[in-house]
Structures are given as structure tokens and as C-alpha cells.
């Protein structure tokens, strides 16, 4: 068996070896700098709070990763989360577990619908989901003009609150969901298709991949995870909030990009997203803990996103301009 390199490799510059580790380095830098300023930050209790805080963003970022890997984006996730939280808060008292199941089914369906329009009508995902963002947000606001406290039936989702062995349940849940998705990406043919479509949609189509079906499925997934995030929010706050979309949209997308997944698709994955989600959470909580002006938060997101984008290497791609 001959394994011979028939094309001499161009000599790699040293920093290209370092590139994949930049997001991880950023995470550790954030952790240590916040810890240096506020010594109590790195205690087990604080880390536990941190993990709990990150669970909603983690859920959103997990599904968003799949869509971004495909080369698209879903701007409507946070709005679906708001809608889900409102609907769950309203129906929990009467339907209990059935409420959660039906709301999850609804958000999955709405997500799939967006994906179908995107695939079938060839509309860019940014356009379809932007429309979705508007529609689901106003739907949530129409249903509930203000925060709706859960009056009864909280036990159906109460298990998400609290922690065991120092690990918050919400974080464990989010981590488990991420692990299942990560496994699927690695071991199911669907995962391979996602990467192929993100890297080269034309070649993927001409290799017999049902691109439309994969896209619809990916957006159904974001719908589902939006619903799960809504459920997690109701569990944490005990109420449904129609306006949480505003504060969740940017951080969840930033989490994916800061982790190192490339916006154009095909590069990155869920491992990157874990790093990104943790970085975002440390940033948020850290800014508050160290007494810095919260207005600095978006600036920090911007800097981190650009850093991560510069660090991912795609110079070999003939399709890249």
C-alpha cells in the first residue's frame, strides 16, 4: 500500500499551529483575569452559579451551531424562546407535562416551517429567520403583554431547578442535549452531510445529498432547542417573559462564533460552542462581579468574535474569496 505525498506541503507558519487553540486560550484568559480581580470568582459555588447561568445560552448556541455549520443562521431562536416561555407559563397550570410537550412540538414545527421556506423558496436563512424574529416576538407579546408567573403545575419543570453533586440540573440538561447532538454529528450520516453542505453546497447536492431535507431538519432542531430554552427559563424564573428575546439573541450567536465555528459554514462544531458559551457567560457574570459598566459587554462580544474569526483558517478553500 503506497502512501506517498504527491504534493509537497507548503511550509506552515508557526501561528497556524496555534490557531485552533485561540478560543480556548481566550476562555482561560477571561477566567483568570476575572479571577485575578475578584478572588471569590473561582470558587466551586460561583462556578456552579456560572454553569446554571450559561444553560439557556448553551441550549440556544447548541442548535445554532448546526445551522451555522450549514452556512446559514437563525435569528429567530430567541423569539421562539420567548414564545415558548409565555405559552408554557400560561398552560402549565392546566396541562402540566402535556403543556411542555405540546409547546415543544409547536416550536419544532415553527422552526421546521422556517427551514422549509428557506430551502424550498431559496430565500437566505437570514431573511426567513429575521421575519420569524419579528413574527414570533410580536406573537409572544400579543399573548402576554407582561411577565406571566406560573400559578400552578410547576412540578412538571421543577426538576430543572436545583443541583446535585454541585452540578446544576439545568446545566447538566443542556450539556446532555449538547452531547447527544455532538454524537449525532459525529456518528450519523446526517452530521457528515451538514459539514459537506456548509463547506460546498454545490458539491454536496451533486453527490446526492438531500440538501433541502437536511436544512429543514436543522431548523426544526433550532425550533426544538428554542422550546427547551424557553422551558429552562421558566424553570429558573418561575414565569414566562415575552421580551427575553432581546437579551438572548446576540449572546447566543456570539457564543457559537467566539468558540471558533466559522460563519460561512463547514468549520467548527459543538466542542467549540462549549468554549464559546462558557466564555460568554464568564464575560457577562464577570462584568457584573467586577463592577465594570455593563455597557462594555457588547464591545467585548465584538472584539472576541473578530478575534475568533481571524483565528480560524480557511485559506486553502478555492471558493473563499
Amino acid at each position: 500500500m503506497t502512501f506517498k505525498d504527491d504534493r509537497s506541503q507548503p511550509r506552515r507558519k508557526p501561528y497556524t499551529l496555534v490557531r485552533p487553540y485561540v478560543p480556548l486560550a481566550v476562555l482561560l484568559a477571561l477566567l483568570s483575569s476575572v479571577g485575578a480581580i475578584q478572588h471569590t470568582f473561582v470558587s466551586p459555588y460561583n462556578l456552579s452559579v456560572l454553569a446554571d447561568e450559561s444553560s439557556v445560552i448553551l441550549l440556544l448556541a447548541t442548535a445554532q451551531t448546526v445551522v451555522i455549520l450549514l452556512g446559514g443562521i437563525d435569528l429567530s431562536m430567541a423569539a421562539l424562546t420567548a414564545l415558548a416561555s409565555v405559552l408554557i407559563a400560561l398552560t402549565l397550570p392546566s396541562m402540566k407535562v402535556g403543556s411542555v410537550i405540546s409547546v415543544l412540538a409547536l416550536t419544532t414545527l415553527l422552526g421546521a416551517f422556517q427551514g422549509y421556506i428557506h430551502a424550498r423558496a431559496q430565500l437566505p436563512s437570514v431573511v426567513v429567520t429575521l421575519a420569524g424574529l419579528g413574527i414570533w416576538s410580536s406573537l409572544a407579546l400579543t399573548i402576554a403583554h407582561t411577565t406571566i408567573p406560573v400559578s400552578a403545575g410547576f412540578s412538571a419543570i421543577g426538576w430543572l431547578k436545583g443541583s446535585s453533586f454541585g452540578v446544576p440540573h439545568s446545566f447538566a440538561f443542556a450539556a446532555a442535549a449538547l452531547a447527544v447532538l455532538a454524537g449525532s454529528l459525529r456518528w450519523l450520516p446526517l452530521g457528515r452531510y451538514v459539514y459537506a453542505i456548509g463547506l460546498n453546497p454545490r458539491a454536496a447536492l451533486l453527490s446526492g445529498i438531500r440538501v433541502g431535507r437536511v436544512k429543514t431538519l436543522a431548523f426544526a432542531l433550532t425550533g426544538l432547542f428554542s422550546g427547551l430554552a424557553g422551558m429552562a427559563m421558566v424553570a429558573r424564573t418561575g414565569s414566562g417573559n415575552p421580551t427575553i428575546a432581546d437579551s438572548l439573541l446576540l449572546p447566543s450567536i456570539a457564543a457559537v462564533l467566539i468558540g471558533g465555528t466559522k460563519m460561512s459554514g463547514g468549520v467548527g462544531g459543538l466542542g467549540c460552542t462549549v468554549i464559546g458559551a462558557l466564555s460568554i457567560t464568564i464575560l457577562r457574570v464577570g462584568i457584573a462581579a467586577t463592577g465594570l459598566d455593563p455597557a462594555y459587554e457588547p464591545i467585548a462580544y465584538g472584539v472576541l468574535i473578530v478575534t475568533a474569526a481571524l483565528a480560524t483558517d480557511r485559506s486553502w478553500d478555492p471558493l473563499q474569496k
Binding site: 502512501f3 456518528w187 463547506l199
Partner: protein
């Protein structure tokens, strides 16, 4: 003594390691029409693009009126007095005719250097259109014009260059008549003959009768080299065809084994009156098991579109595709793949291979569901199959995890072929220019592979680069011209000659 206005010395250009122009030296004299002919891929378009400033040569010189020039972009070429009309039009359909004609050099029609002076703009455009004898209004919207009228506007646009230089312009025309009907072609040819009075013209066309009519001299290109030059009155069509086809590689492609007559085997694919607007009309043919059917034709003849339709990448407007006796229709390529059809596209890096995935992932992309144990990918079996095919096709690589972009062109092509052969034998393979840009060694390997595959019962539809290859690889040949089947050479021990096919192509 007619001194050359434009001269090239030893122009060479390579794209991704493939020599597209090889030491080309031609000259264009004042007020003459020079023809440039050659087969597909001979380098004609590339030569024009270099002259027009669209791409830069790797070496060689361009000498314009005695001075060596270096063109960095199209506007520099235009400022020097060289303009080009492409086969695919370059007009902006949402603008008016006048805006298009003076696109990029409206300076003479601007007030204060910023605002359009519509009157002046229209007057300048009208002047150009009048010289061409066209009655198109400069204020007309370009998207309301017919194709032939747009071609007129293109000519006016390129002639507007004469306003930018004190000298007479050099006009490059790349296959401007290939998309026109007889009447429109007639108009354009008459215009070209008139252009001779105020410009030098380089005219590229695959229709030899047109070239013979308008050109004073003709250059013949073959495989990137300029192989001959003939003056008017000193050439015949037969002679030119011979020069175009050349003699170089015919020895390699001689078919050692006599073509097995396949009249006995079953009809695998039957295409009946397939039509698609602006691509092909009423195409009908049959493909038998184990047969290699070559499709000859120039670039716009409809053959590429036909192949893509048979793979499900394009939708036909009418007609029927019958596969193994059953009528089929494809909503997307995945449907064709499920039915056992594979496609090797001409642009392998853009459409054949996902450059960022590894060789292993690429090779199994088309038939991944066949490599699963339950819902999960069986990685062990995948690895084993990939190794087997890497060895069988002699794909040279360091490890199966090598990213596909690190493979050479030839190995990438083998990878694309392996993609369709792994896991399940295809019924039909559609190969679009399978030997394009490959070195001699790999060409032989893939040629032998194609013959082996046919012998094993796979039906093959083939579009080849040159007629040599086509004749050597194919059992039967159909020729397409302007969207219709213009000739058919069924499988027989007597191979058609290149001339016979070329006659029906052009």
C-alpha cells in the same frame, strides 16, 4: 508595409498547473480582421482575456504600436485602445443603452465631473450606434432589447473605446455569433466587415465558414500553442480542420481491444424528445448496458446541460427519460443517485469534491447510508472500503485523513470516480470532461478505468475534451449542434473520422 498594431511575444499562462497558453506569438495589423480558431480548450478565450486585461500572463510580452505594455485591468486596456466583446454579454440590463455603451468612461458626458449630462451621454451613444447603422434608441432600457439588439449594443460599447485614444482601437470578439440566429449573424458579420475601416479586429468563432468570410488572416490554435497561420485565399476548410485537430496525442488513444458490438445487451437508458428552453430540443437516444456513448459538440451545443438534466441537476421542460423500462423524473440529484446514476462534473474542485473534508469522507459521501450499521456510520467498514479503493485506483496520498484539497488534480478525479463506485456499482456514469487538465500518465489510467467499467456492464455517457479522446473512448457517438442532435455514429468496428464529427459540430 502594414506594421503590426498589436503583437504578442511568447505569451504563456498556466492555471493550477495546466498550461493554457504556450509560447503564443501572434500579430494584428492595422485595419485587418484576424481570425482565431481552435478546438474547445485550445486557448483562444484565454489569449483574448490576456489581451483585454482580464488576466495577466505568466511570461511573454504584449507590444502595442511598438511599445511594450502591461495591462493590469480592463480599464487600462480600454485606455490603451483594446476592447473585448465576450460570448456571455456584459451589459447591465437595468440600465439604459446609453449608460451601457459608455459604461466606465462617461467623463465626456459629466457635468462638474459628477453629474450625468444626459444629453451628451445620449449623443455620444447615438454616434456609436449610427456608425454601426443601428436604429436602437440610446434611451431604451436594455432589458427590453432582444438578444441580437443587445449584441449590437455590445459592439457599440466596445467601439466607444475609439473616443478614448487617438489611435484606432483593437477589437477582440470572442464567439459573438455563437448565440445568434442566421439573420442576426449576418448583421454582425456585415458590421465586422465595416469595422475593418476603422479598427483592427481579432475574431474568434467555432464556425469556420464565418471565419473564412470575414478574416484576412487566420491563426490556428491547438492545446495552447499557435500552430499555424494562413492568409486569405490560401486555406481550405479541410486544411484548417486538420490543423485544429492536430496529431500529438492520437497515438495514445488508439483503442487496443476492438470495440465489442453491444447490440445484444439491454437498453438501460432511453431518452425521448427531451427539451429544455435555451439549452437543447427534442433530444432522443438510447444507451445500452456496458456502452460508452460519447457526446460531441462545442461549448454551447447543449451537451453539458443534457448531462446535468440526466443527473437531476436541471429540469427538462418536456420529454421523457426511461431508465430500465420505467419512466423517471428527478426532483434533485439525490433521486438520480438512488436510481444508480453517478456524475463526474467538469469543475472537480468546485462541484466534484468537498475540499475541506478528508479523502475518506469525500469518497463515502454519495453512498453513506450503505455503510451504516443501523443508524450509525460503520467506521470500520468505511475505512476498509476506502483503503481498498485507494489501492485499486492508485490514489497517491499520505493517509485517508488527508484533506481532499491536498491531492493533485489527477488524484482528485480518481477520488470523484471512487465516490460513485464505492459501496454499490452504478448503472450509469455521466462523465463531463473526465480527462481535463490531467497529466499524460493519469489520463491513461483513467482511460483504462473507463474501459474496464464499461466492460463490467456500467453504461457511460461521456463528454470529452478533444475529438481524439472521444473517438478512442466511445463505442457510439452522437453529435450536438445548437441544441439539437446533428449526427449519430452508432457502435461499429469502423470508427468515424475526426473530420466527419467536426463537420457536424460546426
Amino acid at each position: 508595409m502594414n506594421a503590426p498594431v498589436l503583437r504578442t511575444e511568447g505569451l504563456s499562462k498556466s492555471f493550477a498547473g495546466i498550461r493554457v497558453l504556450d509560447d503564443v506569438s501572434i500579430e494584428v495589423r492595422a485595419r485587418e480582421v484576424v481570425g482565431l480558431i481552435g478546438e474547445n480548450g485550445a486557448g483562444k478565450s484565454t489569449l483574448l482575456k490576456v489581451l483585454a486585461g482580464l488576466c495577466r500572463p505568466d511570461c511573454g510580452r504584449i507590444v502595442l504600436r511598438g511599445t511594450t505594455i502591461s495591462l493590469r485591468c480592463v480599464s487600462e486596456a480600454a485606455a490603451a485602445g483594446i476592447g473585448m466583446v465576450c460570448q456571455e454579454q456584459s451589459l447591465l440590463s437595468n440600465l439604459s443603452v446609453a449608460e451601457n455603451v459608455l459604461l466606465g468612461h462617461e467623463d465626456a458626458a459629466l457635468r462638474l465631473g459628477v453629474f450625468y449630462n444626459w444629453g451628451a451621454l445620449h449623443a455620444l451613444a447615438k454616434a456609436q450606434l449610427d456608425k454601426l447603422g443601428s436604429s436602437i434608441m440610446p434611451s431604451a432600457q436594455t432589458d427590453t432589447l432582444s438578444f441580437g439588439e443587445r449584441q449590437m449594443v455590445e459592439l457599440a460599447k466596445v467601439m466607444a473605446i475609439e473616443n478614448r485614444t487617438p489611435h484606432e482601437p483593437v477589437i477582440l470578439l470572442d464567439e459573438v455569433t455563437s448565440m445568434l440566429d442566421t439573420e442576426q449573424t449576418e448583421t454582425v458579420l456585415t458590421q465586422i466587415e465595416c469595422l475593418r475601416n476603422r479598427a483592427s479586429v481579432v475574431f474568434v468563432s467555432h464556425r469556420l465558414d464565418e471565419v473564412l468570410r470575414v478574416c484576412d488572416r487566420v491563426y490556428v490554435m491547438n492545446n495552447g500553442r499557435c500552430v499555424a497561420q494562413r492568409n486569405r485565399g490560401c486555406y481550405k476548410i479541410a486544411d484548417l480542420q486538420q490543423l485544429m485537430l492536430g496529431r500529438n496525442l492520437s497515438v495514445e488513444y488508439r483503442n487496443d481491444a476492438p470495440q465489442v458490438l453491444i447490440t445484444g445487451s439491454t437498453v438501460r437508458l432511453s431518452v425521448r424528445a427531451l427539451s429544455r428552453a435555451n439549452s437543447y430540443q427534442a433530444v432522443s437516444f438510447e444507451l445500452r448496458a456496458g456502452e460508452v456513448l460519447g457526446i460531441a459538440g462545442v461549448s454551447r451545443s447543449g451537451r453539458e446541460s443534457l448531462c446535468r438534466t440526466l443527473f437531476g441537476a436541471e429540469e427538462p421542460d418536456s420529454g421523457e427519460i426511461v431508465l430500465d423500462g420505467k419512466s423517471v423524473s428527478f426532483a434533485e440529484p439525490a433521486d438520480a443517485v438512488r436510481l444508480g446514476i453517478g456524475y463526474v462534473p467538469v469543475e472537480r474542485l468546485v462541484e466534484g469534491v468537498v475540499a475541506g473534508l478528508s479523502v475518506r469522507e469525500n469518497m463515502t459521501l454519495a453512498h453513506l447510508d450503505g455503510l451504516c450499521r443501523g443508524p450509525l456510520i460503520d467506521r470500520g467498514r468505511e475505512r476498509e472500503l476506502v483503503m481498498r479503493w485507494v489501492e485499486r485506483l492508485r490514489i497517491k496520498l499520505r493517509a485517508p485523513e488527508t484533506p481532499a484539497y491536498q491531492l493533485s488534480g489527477g488524484n482528485q478525479q480518481k477520488l470523484v470516480l471512487a465516490k460513485w463506485l464505492i459501496a454499490r456499482k452504478p448503472k450509469i456514469l455521466i462523465l463531463d470532461h473526465p480527462l481535463l487538465g490531467l497529466d499524460v500518465c493519469t489520463r491513461m489510467e483513467i482511460t483504462l478505468l473507463i474501459r474496464d467499467l464499461a466492460r463490467s456492464g456500467i453504461s457511460i455517457l461521456l463528454i470529452a475534451d478533444t475529438l481524439n479522446e472521444l473517438i478512442a473512448l466511445s463505442d457510439s457517438i452522437i453529435v450536438m449542434k445548437d441544441g439539437a442532435v446533428s449526427g449519430c455514429f452508432p457502435a461499429s468496428t469502423e470508427r468515424p473520422s475526426e473530420r466527419e464529427i467536426l463537420e457536424r459540430m460546426v
